[in-house]
Structures are given as structure tokens and as C-alpha cells.
């Protein structure tokens, strides 16, 4: 009897375990399907999936409720605490589309490659318009993973405008927009609609005002690379401490962003003129060696944070909030955000610009050369069953009405129109300003991803940044006056890197070129200058072995007679 019971219980357990295993497996599958079902639109509406797929394209014209899953491939982007924000609700009312955002935590390049390799595709992808992310999207377009938008563009003028030849930098147009004959796969966003909309992020070195005063250096007296080195050395030698911990002379944010921007003191851009009118990649030049050895010196003398390249943003922010970083290298908005709490608790400790620093190859009166382009591409994947509804959503976001909605909010709720200009409602402004987590803004629908897809940047044209506080505006204006004494010049020339990417050798050369940043970081941590140069030279040899000479020849041939970028500051 006992044995029988035991057998029965054992059998039940085994069946449960096996069932559990199968359920676990099948759940995975359903999870994926569920995602697709949800994204086909009408599943969320309680509708029949088959009908939703069949009728998907009609949804747009009738504003039939549709749910669209968007991958917002920007590392660190996130939603607030509410699923449906007032702005998302307003978008739904206008377009019938409910947006479900998915965010990337980690490498954006990895995400692009993973979604296409595993075919776990969103309905809409939106992400960086450069580097490996863009390469991944162009590859996806070539391999039939995306929807050709050309047949639809007549119906969506705001989208057509985003990829008008005149609104896209020439090399980028050749590489990503016009590279597929009559077909168009990519939408391009956030490029300035006019010169006054051009956004200068004010990349540079910024020092804590109180620390500069303590070491007796006027930040505006720092111009040359030697000045900068001596300034950092003085900070180090002063032996300053915060909460019992030593102050680090120079630091940055995650993974080394953007401590390397001192490169502009050594060379003008990634490709430089060899002196005979032909271009070479800067990595192959003497200037690159000098730049590397300069940073090696900073590392070996403890002037640059040893953890700069391995730290995450939370660790970097912690150091800034503890007051441990004297000079920060990054763009100014990031520095203002990160230092807000510390400055509030320690008045007079604001970060102020260092310099302006001398630029290699640029005359003293030359305006700052900035590549003010769009930063975002958006595509519709082949999994999307509601192409028209998705385009209607994107077209609305790119319209003036959509732009204002996602940047300023709902009129009467978030802002009022005063003398034809949007003005933030005081209670909203105060609420957002008091919230250091940024959640209050996100819960209204700001900064959760819609802005990325809002077409050409018309921030100034349509009314300015109504959410920026006066102190921040004053700080930015002050930094602009110091760092841009000659104003800015928006680059419109060809970027050699985009041309190189079209060379026949690029496939074999790319893996070597992808190593440049990693190898530079390795070089600056070596024990001697000779060892640093050895590390650099090893990669140079590999680049030569994998077709660099032919690739750069291709670049020079194709850019003959064309205006090429040889001076470019980070932006």
C-alpha cells in the first residue's frame, strides 16, 4: 500500500516536473508571440489577431486603436512610474496609436545586432544615427529586414521632409538614406530645422570654481596642452580631500565618456591632411602618438581617474556628488545635471569652463566647427503589421503640433501660449525643478522617447526650451561666451569616415578599426612610452594587413575635389 502511494506520488512529481519544464519552454515561445500579438495592434484592443493583421493598414485612416511596440535604443533611457502618460494619451487621441516603449540597458550596438540576429524585432526601432548602431541598421536594410517607406512618403510630408536630400549631411545621405536606389528605409531625426535651432552641447573641460580658486589658477588662462597638464598637476599637488578621500584632478562619466576630448589639441578630426592634399586616418599619424603619450602621462602621474574607462554612470555620479572630481570632461548639460546636488549643498562649487583650449590646425579666430546633425534614425521592421498606423504616428510626432506636444506638453496643462510663445505653467515648472530624480517629468510623458522621433529640431523656432531654469540658461550662456568666442560653424562637408565605410575593403578593415578606442585605452595604461607606441603600432600593422592602404586610396579618389571635414570639434 505504502509502495503504491509512494509510486503514485513519485509519478505525480515527475509529471509535474516534466510539465513544468514544457510549460517553461512553451511560455518562452508565447512570450515572444505575445509581444508580437500585442504589437499587431488589436490584441490590446481585445480584437482578433488575424483581423488585426488583415486590417492593419486601414487602422491609420480610421484612427482605429493600434498598439505599437517601439524599441528606444538609447542606453539609459527609461519610462517614469506610469504606463500611460498624459502626453502618450494625447498622442493616442490624435493618431489612435498606443505606444509601448522598450528601452536599452547596455550597449546600443549589441542591441541592434541582437534583435536582428534573434529576430526578436520591435514594430519600430529608433536609435543613434552613427557608429555601429547605424551600420547595423544599414545592414538590416540591405538584408530585407525593414519596410521600404518610399511608397508611403507621399502621404506623410513631415517624414518626407526628414529625409530630403537638403536636410541630411551628404555622406550620410549616400550611406544610409539614398543607398538603396528607389527604396527608402531610414528616417532621420533631430537635425536642426534652421541655423538658430543648431544645438551646441558645449563639450569641454569644466573645473569646480572653488577648486580653481584654491589652487590659484584662472580657468580662462588655460589654453595649451601644457597649461592643462600644469593645471591638473597643481590640483593633484594641492592634496585636496573631500570626505577624507583625495580629489581626482580629471574625470568623466561612464566608460571614459568624454575624457578623451583633449584630442582636439593634437589633431583636427579623425581624418587629417597628410600635407600633400591626401587624407589619412589620424590613428596612423604622429599627432595620434603625441595625443596617446600625453594621456599616458596623465594616467601614470595620477592626474586622470584610473577608473575613468571602467566605471559606470552611477559610480561616476557618486564621485561627482561627493565632490571628488576637480575637472570634468563631457558636454555641459551632463555636467550641470550631475553636479546639481553638490552645488546646491556647496554654493560656489559650480563647474565652469576651462579655456578655450587651443585647437590643432585651427587659426585663433576660427569659429568652432561642429557637426550639428541629426542624432536619431527610425525604421519600421518587417514584423510590423500596422505600417500605415506607425507612419501616421511618426508623421504626427514630426509635425509642428507633435513637436510641441512632446517638447512642451499639453496646452493649458503644461504650458500656456503668451504672445504667441509657449510659456511653462509655474506649478509644472516648479514641480519639475524640485524633482532631482527626473521622474516627475517622465510621468507627464517628457523624455521617455517621443522626442527622439519628433522630426527636425525646431526647439528655438517654435519657442525655446521652456523647461530650462534661469540658472542653467545663464550657465550655458556664460560657457558659450567663453568657449565659442568666434561663434560656431556648422559642418556641411563630406566626412571621410562615411566614404571609407563604402570602400570594398571596409568589411575586412572594420574589425581592426573597431579596436582603435580600445587600443588607445590600453596604450595609455602601459608602463612606458615605448610600450604605448608598440600597442599602437601593432594595430596599425593589422589595419595595413586588412586593407587600410586600399581603403584610404578609395577615400582619397572619391573625395577628390570635394570639401572634406578636417576640423571638427566634439558635439
Amino acid at each position: 500500500m505504502w509502495n503504491k502511494r509512494r509510486t503514485l506520488v513519485s509519478s505525480a512529481l515527475a509529471v509535474t516536473l516534466f510539465g513544468g519544464l514544457l510549460a517553461g519552454c512553451s511560455d518562452n515561445g508565447n512570450g515572444g508571440n505575445g509581444g508580437n500579438a500585442g504589437t499587431t495592434g488589436n490584441a490590446g484592443n481585445g480584437g482578433n489577431k488575424g483581423n488585426a493583421e488583415a486590417n492593419g493598414d486601414n487602422a491609420a485612416s480610421s484612427n482605429k486603436p493600434v498598439t505599437v511596440k517601439i524599441l528606444h535604443n538609447w542606453n539609459g533611457s527609461s519610462a517614469g512610474d506610469v504606463d500611460m502618460t498624459p502626453i502618450a494619451e494625447a498622442i493616442k487621441e490624435k493618431t489612435g496609436v498606443t505606444v509601448q516603449f522598450d528601452y536599452t540597458k547596455g550597449s546600443e550596438v549589441e542591441k541592434v545586432n541582437t534583435i536582428f540576429a534573434t529576430q526578436d524585432l520591435p514594430d519600430i526601432y529608433t536609435g543613434p544615427a552613427w557608429g555601429g548602431e547605424l551600420d547595423g541598421i544599414v545592414k538590416a536594410a540591405k538584408e530585407d529586414q525593414l519596410v521600404d517607406l518610399a511608397p508611403y512618403l507621399d502621404k506623410y510630408p513631415n517624414l518626407a521632409k526628414e529625409i530630403d536630400k537638403e536636410n541630411v549631411p551628404p555622406a550620410l545621405y549616400d550611406k544610409a538614406i539614398g543607398a538603396f536606389g528607389d527604396k527608402k528605409y531610414l528616417l532621420y531625426q533631430n537635425q536642426p530645422a534652421s541655423d538658430k535651432d543648431a544645438l551646441d552641447w558645449l563639450y569641454g573641460f569644466y573645473v569646480r570654481k572653488d577648486i580653481a580658486a584654491k589652487v590659484g589658477v584662472d580657468p580662462q588662462s588655460v589654453h595649451t596642452k601644457d597649461d592643462l597638464y600644469n593645471f591638473l598637476k597643481k590640483i593633484k599637488d594641492a592634496g585636496l580631500q573631500e570626505n577624507g578621500l583625495p580629489v581626482i584632478p580629471l574625470g568623466g562619466f561612464h566608460a571614459g565618456w568624454a575624457v578623451g576630448i583633449g584630442n582636439m589639441m593634437f589633431y583636427g578630426s579623425d581624418y587629417i591632411d597628410k600635407g600633400d592634399g591626401t587624407l589619412e586616418h589620424t590613428f596612423m599619424s604622429k599627432q595620434y602618438e603625441e595625443y596617446t603619450l600625453y594621456y599616458r602621462k596623465l594616467i601614470s602621474e595620477g592626474l586622470l581617474d584610473q577608473e575613468a574607462f571602467t566605471q559606470t554612470d552611477p559610480i561616476a555620479n557618486e564621485k561627482i556628488k561627493q565632490g571628488r572630481i576637480a575637472v570634468l570632461a563631457a558636454h555641459y548639460p551632463a555636467i550641470l545635471d550631475a553636479s546639481k546636488d553638490y552645488v546646491k549643498a556647496h554654493p560656489g562649487s559650480d563647474y565652469v569652463p576651462v579655456g578655450p583650449l587651443d585647437r590643432a590646425g585651427a587659426e585663433a579666430d576660427r569659429p568652432a566647427d561642429l557637426a550639428i546633425q541629426g542624432n536619431n534614425v527610425t525604421v519600421i521592421t518587417k514584423k510590423n503589421k500596422n505600417v500605415d498606423a506607425s507612419l501616421k504616428l511618426l508623421d504626427f510626432l514630426a509635425s509642428d503640433e507633435g513637436f510641441k506636444l512632446v517638447h512642451y506638453g499639453i496646452e493649458g496643462v503644461h504650458y500656456d501660449m503668451v504672445d504667441g510663445k509657449p510659456v511653462a505653467k509655474k506649478e509644472m515648472f516648479d514641480k519639475f525643478n524640485a524633482d532631482t530624480t527626473g521622474k516627475a517629468k517622465k510621468n507627464e510623458g517628457f523624455g521617455i522617447g517621443f522626442e527622439s522621433m519628433s522630426g527636425l529640431d525646431r526647439t528655438v523656432t517654435l519657442g525655446g526650451d521652456i523647461w530650462a531654469d534661469q540658472d542653467r540658461i545663464a550657465a550655458m550662456d556664460n560657457a558659450r561666451k567663453i568657449l565659442r568666442p568666434n561663434g560656431i560653424k556648422v559642418i556641411s562637408a563630406y566626412a571621410a569616415g562615411d566614404v571609407l565605410a563604402k570602400s570594398p575593403q571596409y568589411e575586412s578593415l572594420k574589425p581592426s578599426m573597431d579596436q582603435i578606442t580600445t587600443v588607445w585605452q590600453q596604450a595609455i595604461f602601459t608602463k612606458s612610452d615605448a610600450a604605448a607606441l608598440k600597442v599602437i603600432n601593432e594595430l596599425r600593422e593589422q589595419m595595413n594587413k586588412t586593407g587600410y592602404a586600399d581603403a584610404i586610396k578609395y577615400v582619397n579618389e572619391n573625395l577628390k575635389g570635394k570639401e572634406v571635414v578636417t576640423l571638427q570639434m566634439p558635439n
Binding site: 550596438v109 545586432n113 529586414q145 583625495p246 574589425p511 585605452q521 594587413k545
Partner: protein, 291 residues
């Protein structure tokens, strides 16, 4: 009924160890999103050539083997030592407590372990450096992480700390299976505690140790990607670049899936050869082998 209990395990192995073998073909194809595993064009040995032409391939292989060998030689001994020591502890409560505490770290993810290390071993403000300074053991704080001089100690130390308890379980079980009469006989023959360990305990777990050693040689070409990915950095790149991390970077960050598959396959083939070789040697030397 006995076989029914095996079924979930067999299904697991089939799904996660055998089905993925289908994907090996990617190493010999130019993987395309549209073609997938079976529809992409054949590329022959192109990606294997690419790997061996890569100027850092020998360094990657050397680093991988060195780190794995150190883990194998030192990390392999530690659980045996812990198991033997625990077997000698007579206070049951203390023994159980140590046992439990020693295998808790196994369940902590590498992300947490490395974050703990970063906090505890921080050069400035880290408790370990504070302690060393306060008792006068060091004058200046030590940079434990991102430092070639301390890299191997950190890798091995954290690996042993994380796995020693869990890996000792099988030895503790083997020791528990040793006939107590052997200990009594040894005592009658005048053997002390150390002699008993040497002549009874260690021979009692010899077979299981040999089998585990053979299995462990299979991972000689794999140094553990999570730990190395998290503890590596530009300062230690010359000794921390290993095949596992290279595969992840090439496949996911650079989108070179066929290349990554080729390097992964190379690792697996070498691992298979190593297992077969060590198995053969073990059979000849000790009559203990896997098959």
C-alpha cells in the same frame, strides 16, 4: 519509473546542449539576418583564417590557457582541502555553519561579486585598504583592481571564494561514503589525524577527484566570460583579454556572428581534444576514467 525521473534532465540536455549544435554551421557561413542559420551563403574556413590572422589571437589563447590553468591547478585543490578540513571538525553546529556560509557565494551573480569587490577593495575609502592602513600593514593604499600586479590574485581569489563551497559538496558526499571501519582500523594501527587523512580520506575521494579533474580540463580553453568581462579593463588588457570575452565582443558588439561562432567552435574542439587526452592518460595512470 526511474527512467521517468531522468526524462526532464534528458530533455534539458537535448534542448540546450544538442539542439544548439545545429547552429555550428554559422561558423562556416556568412551569417545574414535574412538567411539565418541555414540560408546564409557558405564561407568555408574564412572566419577561422580571420581569427588566426588576427594579431592578438595568440595573446588571447595564451591568456585564456594561463588563467584557466591557474584556476584548474589552484581552484581545483581548494574544495578538496575544504571538504577534508570540514570532515575533521567535530562540532556539528560549527561544521554546518561553515558549510552553509561557504556555498552561499555560489548563488551570488558575478555582477554582485564584482561590485562588492569594487567597494571593498577600492583604493580610496575601501574598507580593506582602510584596515591595512590602520594596522600599519601598508603605507599607501593598494590599487587592487585594474592593476596587472594584482590581477591574477583578484581573479583566482574571487573565483575560489565564489565556488569553493559548492564544489566541495561532492567531496563531502564522497568522504561521507567512506567506510568508518577503515578509520577505526587506521586508528588501531596507530594512525593520527593526518595519517588518517593521507591513507584513508584522500584515497577514498581519489576516483571522484580524477573524474572531476578530467571534466575540468574541458574548460581549459574557457576562462569564464562573466568574471573576466567584469574584471577586465584597459589597464590589465595585456593579460586579461581572453577568448570568451573576445567571442562576446565580436558577436554582439561588432555584429560578427559567424566569426564569433568560429572562435567558439575552435574553443570547443580544443576542449574536446583535451578531455579525450586527459581521459586516456587518467585511464592509463590510475584506472579511473570517464569512458
Amino acid at each position: 519509473m526511474f527512467y521517468l525521473f531522468m526524462l526532464p534532465g534528458l530533455v534539458w540536455f537535448f534542448l540546450f546542449s544538442y539542439v544548439p549544435l545545429y547552429g555550428i554551421q554559422v561558423a562556416f557561413r556568412d551569417f545574414q539576418f535574412s538567411g539565418g542559420f541555414s540560408g546564409s551563403p557558405w564561407a568555408g574556413l574564412k572566419y577561422f583564417h580571420q581569427f588566426f590572422d588576427y594579431y592578438q589571437s595568440s595573446r588571447l589563447i595564451r591568456n585564456t590557457i594561463l588563467i584557466s590553468a591557474l584556476k584548474l591547478l589552484i581552484g581545483f585543490m581548494m574544495p578538496i582541502i575544504l571538504a577534508v578540513l570540514l570532515n575533521e571538525v567535530r562540532n556539528v553546529k560549527f561544521k554546518k555553519t561553515v558549510q552553509t556560509l561557504s556555498y552561499l557565494p555560489y548563488f551570488v551573480s558575478w555582477v554582485v561579486v564584482v561590485t562588492l569587490m569594487q567597494r571593498l577593495l577600492a583604493q580610496y575609502g575601501g574598507p580593506v585598504n582602510n584596515l591595512l592602513e590602520s594596522i600599519g600593514m601598508v603605507k599607501d593604499p593598494i590599487q587592487f583592481l585594474n592593476n596587472t600586479s594584482w590581477f591574477y590574485q583578484m581573479i583566482l581569489g574571487s573565483d575560489i571564494w565564489k565556488n569553493i563551497g559548492w564544489n566541495s559538496i561532492i567531496y563531502i558526499a564522497a568522504i561521507a561514503g567512506i567506510d568508518q571501519q577503515q578509520y577505526e582500523a587506521a586508528k588501531i594501527d596507530g594512525a593520527g589525524r593526518f595519517k588518517q587523512i593521507w591513507h584513508v580520506t584522500l584515497p577514498g575521494i581519489r576516483n571522484i577527484a580524477v573524474i572531476l579533474f578530467i571534466l575540468a580540463t574541458g574548460s581549459l580553453m574557457s576562462a569564464g566570460y562573466e568574471q573576466l568581462l567584469l574584471l577586465s579593463g584597459p589597464a590589465t588588457a595585456s593579460i586579461d583579454s581572453v577568448l570568451d570575452v573576445h567571442v562576446i565582443n565580436a558577436g554582439l558588439n561588432e555584429g560578427r556572428l559567424s566569426y564569433a561562432a568560429a572562435v567558439g567552435l575552435f574553443q570547443s574542439v580544443i576542449a574536446l581534444v583535451l578531455i579525450l587526452t586527459v581521459n586516456r592518460v587518467a585511464r592509463k595512470v590510475s584506472d579511473v576514467s570517464l569512458f
